[in-house]
Amino acid sequence: MKNVVLLYGGRSYEHDVSVITAIEVGQWCPQQYRLYPVYMRDGEWWLVKDWQRFGSYTSTIKGRKVRLDDEGLHVGIKTVKVDCVLLSTHGGEGEDGRLQSLLEWWGLPYTSCDPLTSGILMDKVFAKSVLKERGFVVAPAYPESAPVYPVIVKPARLGSSIGVGVARNEEEYRQALANAEDYDRSVLVEQFLEGAVEYNCAILRDGDQLLVSEIECPRHTGDTYTFGQKYQKECEHALPAPMEDGLREEIKRTTSSLYTALRCKGVVRVDYLYHQGTLYVNEVNTIPGALSYRLFGAAGVSIGKLLTILIENASCQPRPKVKYGELLDDLIGAWK
């Protein structure tokens, strides 16, 4: 039986979303895996008592402190060999490549993009320039000092629509900028595509194959798809989204080529905006909420199967085999 560590929590504004994902995903983990749900808070790692209850995270944490390193998961005096780390962290250190770097350092296989891809895609400013350079269509971005209204202002390294605001004049812009800067020093200012339709599509690698999910269309009110609409059921989701076959094909094709071009791993969800006949890549999530199991479910991939694929395809860069001291003689000779 494989031992799977489900990592969640962490220092992030999206901490609570991470807990929800962990509970949603963890409760459906196939029973051929032994699951160790490890919660991160303030630099400590916990096996939380009653980890499936939201209430367990609102007060002082009760449970057992554990430690994860290259030997495995240390629970008391026992060390469990870790076959895979299932990442359910959103935002902050869990999604921006820092946690992935740590896992790479320890040589533990994990279920998300490598540190470099995670870092680039976490930062909306960098992601936009990389996507543009790779030939994907993105909405034009403006320098902070020269916006062309209407604009949408986003904290660069945050998800779940936290801190996002639309501005149509200077006063609104100042407010939106101040709001976004409360969350992140780096801010993305881009053209607001008025009346654009949003589509979401997720993708996953299974061996040599790419599995593309069904496409969803969140029907929200107001300018943007807010945190409340995302997580508090204030918004309807059309799944599968009604659209022309041509557009459906284009979205699926773009998702696949983006996944390959950016060397992604694990589940990735790409959010699009369709505006006046043009499809824009809006955002790429390397650890999407609830790992987008609803989107895959609509495509006939159950959550159990999704997790099995994720775990079985988890990977880690193999450590280079270095022959220490082999060049020393030559180098010392050269110094002389």
Partner: protein, 227 residues
């Protein structure tokens, strides 16, 4: 046994709790399943037995119902008292392929000082031929053979039967359930090591009716996983 049967697809059998009827599941039904919702003996449209009966009587009744409709590969969704029937049914019928137990009863309850005092009061009253204390609210509401049935049922503890349940089980529990408190869930988890647990926050004993959409999704995902 009266029942409502509707739809096509995966067979799902709903067993209601004590004092309820099939209508308790009205809000969380799923038209994509072939659903069977009986009224158990003594509740809803089904008449009460003429003499006090035990849990096996209910289990046999449900088995006859399953035979009547040639039900096979059945997922049983059971609440509270219905879960007692479901556990025994899963342990003895080859046609049950999965259980969803919601606020399930059947585990031995923790007895506090208050309970012991009530028992002592009742025994002393019996000895001195005085008026005994009244029973629980559920007991008081019953009449005739159902009173004896209730006593038989609440004194049936099923901890040992759990080891005979080999099908996948989903345990759904309201975090604020007072009738079947969370410690009972722990006993189910201990007896069913391969079960999955889902907590419904801010919900009580009738969590499926308090969050019907979420409950419907949970059952649908569970059925999907079974397939």
């Amino acid at each position: 046994m009266f029942c409502v049967r509707q739809g096509q697809g995966q067979e799902v059998l709903y067993l209601h709790g004590w004092g309820c009827s099939h209508e308790v599941f009205a809000s969380c039904r799923n038209p994509s399943f072939c659903e069977t919702l009986p009224d158990l003996y003594g509740f809803g449209e089904t008449p009460a037995p003429t003499h006090p009966v035990d849990l096996d009587y209910y289990v046999e009744g449900v088995k006859r119902l399953m035979d009547r409709y040639y039900m096979q590969n059945v997922v049983v969704v059971a609440h509270s008292f219905g879960a007692r029937i479901a556990v025994r049914l899963a342990a003895t019928s080859p046609h049950v392929v999965g259980l969803v137990l919601v606020g399930a009863a059947g585990m031995r309850p923790r007895r506090g000082v208050k309970y012991l005092a009530r028992v002592a009061h009742a025994k002393l009253a019996k000895l001195f031929r005085l008026r005994p204390p009244e029973g629980s609210e559920d007991y008081r509401r019953l009449s005739g053979a159902m009173k004896g049935t209730f006593v038989n049922i609440v004194h049936t503890y099923q901890e040992k039967e759990l080891s005979r349940v080999t099908v996948p089980v989903l345990l759904v529990w309201g975090a604020e359930d007072k009738e079947t408190p969370p410690y009972m869930l722990k006993r189910f988890e201990k007896g069913l090591p391969l079960s999955r647990t889902v907590w419904m926050e801010r919900c009580g004993h009738f969590c499926f009716a308090q969050q019907p959409d979420r409950f419907r999704r949970l059952v649908a995902t569970f059925v999907e996983e079974l397939q």
